[in-house]
Each structure stands twice: as structure tokens, then as C-alpha cells.
């Protein structure tokens, strides 16, 4: 019987081991390529067990390194962390398989470096999921930023360099200038770096300062991509598609909204937020981001750019749920982490498949090619439905809860925001399968999708349907989160 501490260690250390091993076996490319999927299976097995432990309300405190008095790197299990950890590690399996197909199919250079930092980024994301205190969270938040830099600039050309600069300056700048002092402020105010289920700040900080501190957190968490900090995400799309798929639709951005939710619920606490109304401005900012980026998405002809703006908009759903601070809204926000992840990763997989298959990156070039690769476009269709929130796709659950939450807190306008955004989603996502299947073909292309790309794409699209029916364990977890409030 493996103890729960060891499961945490397995889950977070396996990606690190993969990262360290990869450069040493770079000569044997088959072995090197297989490390990712194998690591993903072991890691998600650990994450699955952690989730079971979280469901049965087991708790643990695991201190790994004591840096100095009062500062340590430690891990613990929270319901939200269990969800995020499982999503990141489980989807890593498919993203890793997909990467092999993509990198080979595209004949990319420096594949060893790519796999090394890819695993490193997963490691950082999982450490964020199980972070035991605010400092551990911050440390791995930064590690995640730095480990993804070589991935974003993988092509090592002028455009990649520019994108890399924007990426680093927004993410590092915001986190160092605002997030770090905000965390230390909490540390000074409460005397510890702990987080707790009901928040730690109530009564510890002058009420007049709460909106300021919240603003420091919100604008410090650049990974959540709220306007005006969103620009790094479209820029990061210059990276190879497996990076955009797993990291910039799942691990990195979800780490951002995960941090945001943790801060709203476990640092401030929904009671404090409701009492002081400190998060009201955040509701409006998130709503604005949500609508504005949906509208921008419509005008993007580049498929990955459109998906990037759609991601920004979907991230704001989660922030908005946290800011509403009602039990239902928080549940919806937490569920949206899973449902959006599976949907969006499918869409990115398709984008990458089209690029590898026929170097298509523009939506206007898709006309009539549906019949050449029907399964790929079907996957895109399913993923889109989930993002839009149509049953029986997973995405419908989270939208349902978010709307309930908005109704609970009497923000009728927010419900309208959700409805408008759903229409916009449908408008910009449905264009792709519509063009592929119903428009006239303009030119003949040879669209050949490698199996290693097709299979993960199909699996994740099936997952979005399965999740609709098997959402219960996740729902139990999120309601555990909400119960404590």
C-alpha cells in the first residue's frame, strides 16, 4: 500500500525524472520519445490516487525542503489541486504521444531540448497543483514561466525572440513586481504563508486595503491572462503546437486561473470578499475581458491565434466564477478547469494536425477540405460544442453552474454576459467545421494526418463526451470545496 505522501512524490517527481533522463538518452530516439507517455501514465496514476484521497477527505502535509525558519517547500492535497493535478498529468499522456507525431512529422530541430523542457514544465505545473503554501506556489509559478521560455522560442528566429521577450516581460514582470509583494504582504499580515479553506485574511488586514491587495494579486497573476495582461498568450502561439496545446491551453494558463481561484477562496476567503465587496471590480474586469477577447477572436484568421483569444475568454469565465464568490460559481469555475482543458486541447491538436498534414494555418484556407480528413474535423466539432456548452459535452456542466452562481449572487448582467459570449463562441468556432464541410473546395491539397497525431486527438474528443456522463467525482470534489465556505 503506497501512502498518500508517496503518491504526491510520484506524481510530481516522475516528470522531473523524465526531464533529467531525456538529455542522457537523446541518442536512442525511440526510448527518448517513449519517456513522455510512460511518465504521463505513471504520473496520472499518482494523480488519480491523490484525487481518491481527496474525495475521502484525507489530508497530508509534506515538507520537502526547509529553506529557512518559516520558509519551506511543502505540498498538500486540496480538492481544487487534485482536479488540476489530474487534468495536467492525464492530458500529458496524450500530448506526449501527439508531440512525437508532431515533432517527427514537422521535422523539428532540437527535439531533445524540447522534450526536456516540456517535462520540466509539467513538473512545475503539478507542483503548483499540490503546493502546500503560498511561497511554494510562487516558486513553481516562476519555474513554470522559465521552463516554458525555451519552448516558446523553440524556432530561435526573430519572431520567436520577440515573442519570447513579450512572454517573459509580462509573466515575470507582473509576478515579480506584484504577486511576490502581495504574497509577502499576506505573510507579514498573518504571520505565516499558510492557506486555509476559509481564507486567512479575515480580521488580519485593514478592510480598506483589501481591494488594493486583491488588485496586486489579480494583476500579479499574469498567467490568468486578464486584460491588459493577456498579450503574452497570442504571442506564445509561435511555439510548436504541442506546447500551445498542453501548456498554453492547459498547464500554464490553468496554473494561472488555479492560482487565482486559490487566492480568492483560500487566501481572501469568499466570506471576506462577500462582506467587503472587494472583488466586485474583478467581476466587471473579467466580464469585459471575456467579451472583448471573444470579439477579437472572430477577426483572427490564423487558427491558433483564434484559439488563443478563445482561451483568454474562457479563462475569464474561471476568474469571473471566483470573483462572484458564491458556492455555485466557484464550483462552476473549478469544473471549467477540466472541461475547458479537454475541449481546448482537442482544438489545438486539430490545429497542429492541419499544420503537419498540409501546412494549413489559416482558417480561410480550410474551405472544402472536410472530406479529406473527416475524423479530424469531427473532433474539432465535438471540442467546439464542448467549449460552447452544448450537452452532451462536458462544457455544458461548468457553464450551467457558472450561470447558477451568477443568478445566486444577483448579477443578472453577468448571466447576459455568459449568454452573449456563448453565441460569440458558437460563431467563431463553428466557422471552422462549416468551412471544411460545406464550402466549395478552392484548391487540391494532400492532407495526410499521421496516426500518432490522429489518435490522441480522437481520444481527447471522446473524453469531452465521456466527461459529461462521468462528471460526478469531480462534482463531489468541487462541492467539497464549496461546502467549507
Amino acid at each position: 500500500m503506497i501512502s498518500i505522501e508517496n503518491f504526491i512524490l510520484i506524481t510530481i517527481l516522475v516528470p522531473l525524472i523524465v526531464c533529467v533522463l531525456t538529455p542522457f538518452i537523446s541518442k536512442i530516439s525511440i526510448l527518448r520519445d517513449c519517456l513522455g507517455p510512460i511518465g504521463g501514465v505513471i504520473s496520472s496514476w499518482g494523480a488519480f490516487n491523490i484525487m481518491r484521497a481527496a474525495l475521502s477527505n484525507q489530508s497530508t502535509n509534506l515538507e520537502i525542503i526547509k529553506i529557512a525558519e518559516g520558509i519551506s517547500i511543502g505540498f498538500k492535497i486540496t480538492p481544487l489541486g487534485a482536479i488540476f493535478g489530474l487534468v495536467a498529468s492525464f492530458l500529458w499522456i496524450f500530448a506526449a504521444i501527439y508531440s512525437i507525431g508532431y515533432m517527427k512529422g514537422n521535422k523539428e530541430k532540437n527535439q531533445t531540448r524540447f522534450y526536456t523542457f516540456y517535462a520540466m514544465a509539467i513538473h512545475a505545473a503539478l507542483c503548483i497543483a499540490y503546493a502546500g503554501d503560498l511561497l511554494t506556489l510562487f516558486i513553481f509559478y516562476e519555474v513554470l514561466t522559465f521552463s516554458t521560455y525555451p519552448l516558446v522560442t523553440h524556432k530561435q528566429n526573430e519572431i520567436a525572440q520577440k515573442a519570447g521577450r513579450l512572454y517573459m516581460s509580462i509573466l515575470v514582470g507582473s509576478s515579480v513586481i506584484l504577486l511576490l509583494p502581495a504574497i509577502i504582504w499576506v505573510w507579514v499580515a498573518t504571520g505565516s504563508l499558510e492557506m486555509s479553506k476559509n481564507g486567512v485574511l479575515d480580521g488580519k488586514i485593514d478592510v480598506a486595503y483589501t481591494p488594493l491587495l486583491l488588485a496586486m494579486f489579480v494583476f500579479g497573476i499574469g498567467k490568468a491572462a486578464l486584460i491588459p495582461l493577456h498579450k503574452w498568450l497570442p504571442a506564445a502561439m509561435v511555439a510548436p503546437t504541442p506546447v500551445s496545446a498542453l501548456l498554453h491551453a492547459v498547464a500554464v494558463v490553468k496554473a494561472g486561473v488555479f492560482t487565482m481561484l486559490i487566492v480568492l477562496t483560500n487566501v481572501f476567503g469568499t466570506d471576506l470578499l462577500a462582506k467587503t465587496g472587494a472583488s466586485e471590480w474583478l467581476i466587471w474586469l473579467a466580464s469585459f475581458t471575456l467579451l472583448a477577447t471573444s470579439i477579437i477572436a472572430i477577426y483572427k484568421d490564423d487558427l491558433k491565434a483564434r484559439l488563443a483569444f478563445s482561451t483568454i475568454s474562457q479563462l475569464s469565465y474561471i476568474t469571473l466564477g471566483g470573483a462572484l464568490a458564491t458556492s455555485m460559481a466557484i464550483q462552476g469555475a473549478a469544473l471549467h478547469i477540466i472541461t475547458h482543458a479537454t475541449g481546448k486541447i482537442t482544438l489545438f491538436f486539430v490545429a497542429g494536425a492541419l499544420y503537419v498534414g498540409a501546412k494549413i494555418s489559416k482558417i480561410s484556407d480550410l474551405n472544402g477540405h472536410g472530406t479529406a480528413a473527416p475524423l479530424i474535423f469531427l473532433s474539432f466539432f465535438i471540442g467546439s460544442l464542448s467549449i460552447i456548452g452544448v450537452p452532451p459535452m462536458a462544457g455544458s456542466w461548468s457553464k450551467f453552474y457558472l450561470m447558477l452562481g451568477a443568478a445566486d449572487s444577483n448579477y443578472i448582467v453577468v448571466i447576459a454576459v455568459f449568454c452573449i459570449s456563448t453565441m460569440l463562441n458558437a460563431f467563431y468556432l463553428m466557422e471552422i467545421p462549416a468551412r471544411a464541410f460545406f464550402f466549395k473546395k478552392e484548391r487540391d491539397i494532400n492532407l495526410k494526418i499521421p496516426k500518432l497525431i490522429l489518435i490522441p486527438t480522437l481520444i481527447t474528443s471522446v473524453l469531452t463526451i465521456l466527461l459529461f456522463f462521468f462528471i460526478e467525482p469531480f462534482q463531489n470534489l468541487t462541492s467539497m470545496m464549496a461546502d467549507k465556505i
Binding site: 525542503i65 520558509i71 510562487f138 516558486i139 514582470g173 504582504w185 507579514v188
Partner: protein, 496 residues
């Protein structure tokens, strides 16, 4: 035997390099003179470790030179504060000496190598002496020994680049002015108190609160030391001196030279003048605090626009000294501790960066400018990797030593209601990422020129050691943190 050794440790840490410096000059052979220097710096380091252990037991060691009882005779004082710069100086000089082995004969004529090592040890002896002495005038003597030795060392760079002469001349003149100001201050204090012993001065200053001569004396002393510590705007000697000195000398000076003076600054502010609270508080708030903030930004911005990498790192040092003096100027126990933490961490960070850059210069046989770095990262992976880690440490990335400094600095400023100071510190440190990233980007991104470089273990050994220290003290900082807090407590007592 062991007993005598331990009893005499406070003098041994100074005498060991001082005496060997006289011996080294007699040995013409490059390898032997290097060997003796290494042995001497190693012994000094060993003695300071032993001294550290002694301090853990006794917490205060007073050593009367020649058995003349203080305050008549000269007294050496080692306490929990002094031990920090002693360890920094002796440790870094040991690592720098290892690094010098291959680099030094490349840049210096064969016949002058042993002379350089002699000056090298003299500088180390002077710096350690500065820290150990408890006598205000003896301090001036060591100040001059270390400065003159460093000036001569910088001037040795002239064999490669004539600019070194200008740098050394600047350093000499400005340093001499600083030392003179300091000694005028000491003279004034001696005039009104009749003592040169620092502990004795503390007691006698007690009832002289509004004495004009005291204030003037204090002003002279502080400004003199600020010149040596390169506190903005008295830092102008520093960038050139670091940039044109021989490579190994840059490493030694960058990591150690200003640390001793910063320690003296803290000692004068918080210990010698601890009874003139008004004077100190005004100085901290109206002089040191604003100057430090300007230094943080001026140094960083100068570094961003600098093309020559050694000068860039020197400008960055000015900014980093600004962090340390800023920490002192907040004046609480936590902030002074943060200052000492950063003093230690900055030594290993800057030491590492200078070693990395000068080894790159050694490999490419050219002056290291930003354009010369193109694509070299792939040609020298070990050096590049260490350089990146040290840069991240300077930027304050988590899991490195630099993060610990930043963490305590921010915490100290927030807990004394200075959230705006915290934000300023962080903005400046985010700006420092700009120049670090500029270098990393060029090393990594640009097309590699077709050059093959064989990295030499004799050169990267010291780099790896110091990089390891950067990571180690980021993961287990309790030694540094506890030491610094004890030092701060010793300095300002439980007053604040």
C-alpha cells in the same frame, strides 16, 4: 598547539595572507607562486571557519595586539557581525585564486605574475583587517593597504588594455580622497573624545549629542567610507576599475572589495554612533535611503544600456550595493539582517557572473561585448549553464540564493510599512532581468559562429563551485539567514 592556534585566530586571519604576500614576491615560478597563494587563501578560509565555530561558543572575541590592554592598545574584535564579511572575503578569495591559475599567466607578463599574487594577498589581508580591527585609526591603515593593493592590481590590466591605467588612476585619486575624509573624521572624534578604540568611542559619544564637531566628524567618516563602499554617487571609480582590471582581479574585487566597507558603514551607523539616535535616523532617512533608491535604478539603467559586459556587471554591482544600503537605511532588525543576507549572496552571485564572463573572454580571446557573445551558449554549454544560473540568482528567481535576499528584503520593508519601498525594489529587480536577459538571449538565440571551444576544467571548476553555492544557499539558507539575524541583533540590540 591547537589551543594557541585558536587563541590567536583573530590575528591569524590577517597575518596569514599578509606574511605570505611577502614570501610570494620572492618566488619567480608561476606555478609555485600560485600554489603558495592558494595555500595561503585556503588557510585563511580555514581559519575563518574555525573562527566562526569559536564565535558560536563565545559570541564575542577581543584580541589585544601585543597584549596592550584596550583602549590603550589596538584591539581586534570578532563578533557575530564581523564573521560574515570575514567568511565572504576569505572564501571568495580562495575560489578566485583557484580560478586565477590558468587565467593569470594569460594576461600578465610571466615575470610579474608573482608580484600580482603578492598584491593579491595584500589586498585580501587589508580587507580582512578592515573587518577585524576595533580601532578607528588602525582601520584607516587597512583601508589604505587594501586600496593601494587593489589600485596596483587594477593597473596590472594595462598589459592588455591601456584603459586600465586611467581606471587605476581614478581609483587611486578618489580612494585617497575617501580615505582622507575618513581620517579627518577620525581626527575630529579623537579631538573631542580622546580615544580611537571603537567600543570606547561608543560610550564617550553618549553625552555629546549636539556637539558640532561630533556631527562634522561623523559626516567625514561616513562620506569617506561611502566612497570606498561605492555608494551612489560616490561609485564612479568602480565601473572602470572592475572592467579593466585583469580578469581574475575583477572577480576578486567585484565579490569582496566593497563588502568590507559596507560592513564598516553598518558598524559606524549602528554601533559606534548608536547613542546619537537623532543623527543616525536623519542620516538614514534623508541621505542613505534616497541615495540607495537612486543607486538601484541608476545602476540598473546604466547596465541596460551598456555593451561591454564587464562594465555592465560593474554597473549592476552599483545597483546591488544600493539594495544593501537600502536595507540598512530602513534600520530595523529584519532589514539589517536582510542587508547582511544580500551582502553574502551578492558576493557569490557577482563572483560567479564575473568568473563566467571572464572565462568566456579567455576562450574567445577578445574583449567580451554583447555582440561578441553571439551564439556562444551552444559552443560552451557548461559555462553558459552556470552563467544562466548565476544570472537567475541575480534576478532573484526562486530556488536560488538571490531569491532569499529579495524575500527578506521585501519582507523587512513591508513590515516597516514601506510597501512602496518594496515595490521600488521589485521594479528595479524586474529591470535587472532586462540586461540579464539581453545577454542570455544573445548567447542562446543568435546564429552560432563556427567556432569550437574546448572548455577547460581548470577554468570551469571554480565556476561550478560558485554556481553550486548559489543553488545550495537558495535551498538551504538557514545558515546565512540565522547568521545575519544574529548579526543584526548584535548590532542594534533589542532596541527596535
Amino acid at each position: 598547539m591547537m589551543d594557541i592556534l585558536i587563541k590567536n585566530l583573530p590575528i591569524l586571519v590577517v597575518l596569514c595572507p599578509l606574511m605570505t604576500s611577502l614570501l610570494v614576491v620572492l618566488i619567480p615560478n608561476i606555478i609555485f607562486s600560485w600554489g603558495l597563494t592558494t595555500l595561503s587563501t585556503f588557510l585563511t578560509f580555514l581559519f575563518s571557519i574555525l573562527l566562526y565555530q569559536e564565535i558560536q561558543i563565545h559570541s564575542y572575541i577581543s584580541y589585544a595586539i601585543g597584549k596592550w590592554i584596550p583602549p590603550i592598545g589596538i584591539e581586534y574584535i570578532i563578533d557575530k557581525v564581523a564573521i560574515i564579511p570575514i567568511i565572504i572575503i576569505s572564501g571568495i578569495s580562495f575560489i578566485a585564486t583557484i580560478f586565477a591559475y590558468k587565467i593569470m599567466p594569460e594576461e600578465i607578463e610571466k615575470k610579474s605574475v608573482s608580484k600580482v599574487y603578492s598584491l593579491w594577498l595584500l589586498a585580501v589581508a587589508g580587507l580582512i583587517g578592515l573587518v577585524t580591527t576595533g580601532d578607528a585609526f588602525n582601520l584607516f591603515v587597512f583601508l589604505e593597504i587594501s586600496s593601494l593593493a587593489s589600485v596596483a592590481l587594477v593597473a596590472m590590466g594595462a598589459q592588455k588594455n591601456k584603459q586600465a591605467l586611467v581606471a587605476a588612476y581614478n581609483y587611486l585619486i578618489i580612494g585617497a580622497v575617501g580615505a582622507t575624509l575618513y581620517v579627518i573624521g577620525v581626527g575630529l572624534l579623537y579631538g573631542i573624545t580622546g580615544t580611537l578604540n571603537m567600543a570606547d568611542l561608543t560610550n564617550r559619544i553618549n553625552d555629546l549629542n549636539n556637539n558640532k564637531a561630533l556631527i562634522a566628524g561623523f559626516g567625514f567618516m561616513i562620506i569617506g567610507i561611502m566612497v570606498k563602499a561605492a555608494v551612489f554617487p560616490l561609485h564612479i571609480w568602480l565601473p572602470r576599475a572592475y572592467a579593466y582590471a585583469p580578469s581574475a582581479v575583477s572577480v576578486l574585487l567585484a565579490a569582496t572589495a566593497t563588502k568590507a566597507s559596507l560592513y564598516i558603514l553598518a558598524r559606524i551607523l549602528f554601533s559606534v554612533f548608536e547613542n546619537s539616535e537623532n543623527l543616525i535616523n536623519n542620516t538614514l532617512f534623508f541621505v542613505i535611503l534616497p541615495l540607495s533608491i537612486i543607486a538601484m535604478f541608476a545602476g540598473t539603467i546604466m547596465a541596460i544600456y551598456e555593451k561591454d559586459i564587464k562594465r555592465l556587471l560593474a554597473h549592476s554591482s552599483v545597483a546591488q550595493i544600493g539594495y544593501i544600503t537600502l536595507a540598512f537605511s530602513i534600520g530595523t532588525k529584519a532589514s539589517i539582517a536582510a542587508g547582511f543576507i544580500h551582502m553574502f549572496n551578492h558576493a557569490i552571485i557577482k563572483g560567479g557572473l564575473f568568473i563566467a564572463i571572464t572565462s568566456i573572454g579567455f576562450y574567445i580571446k577578445k574583449r567580451v561585448t554583447i555582440n561578441n557573445l553571439s551564439g556562444l551558449g551552444r559552443a560552451m554549454p557548461i559555462t553558459f549553464f552556470c552563467f544562466v544560473l548565476c544570472s537567475l540568482s541575480l534576478a532573484g528567481l526562486p530556488l536560488t540564493a538571490g531569491f532569499i535576499s529579495k524575500l527578506y528584503l521585501i519582507k523587512a520593508s513591508i513590515s516597516s510599512d514601506g510597501i512602496w519601498i518594496a515595490i521600488l525594489i521589485l521594479i528595479s529587480s524586474a529591470l535587472s532581468v532586462v540586461y540579464l536577459w539581453k545577454m542570455i538571449e544573445v548567447l542562446w538565440m543568435r546564429e552560432a559562429k563556427k567556432i569550437v571551444i574546448n572548455e577547460n576544467p581548470k577554468i570551469y571548476l571554480s565556476l561550478i563551485i560558485i554556481t553550486f553555492l548559489n543553488i545550495y544557499f537558495g535551498l538551504d539558507a538557514s545558515l546565512v539567514v540565522n547568521g545575519s539575524f544574529e548579526a543584526a541583533e548584535k548590532l542594534i540590540g533589542d532596541l527596535k
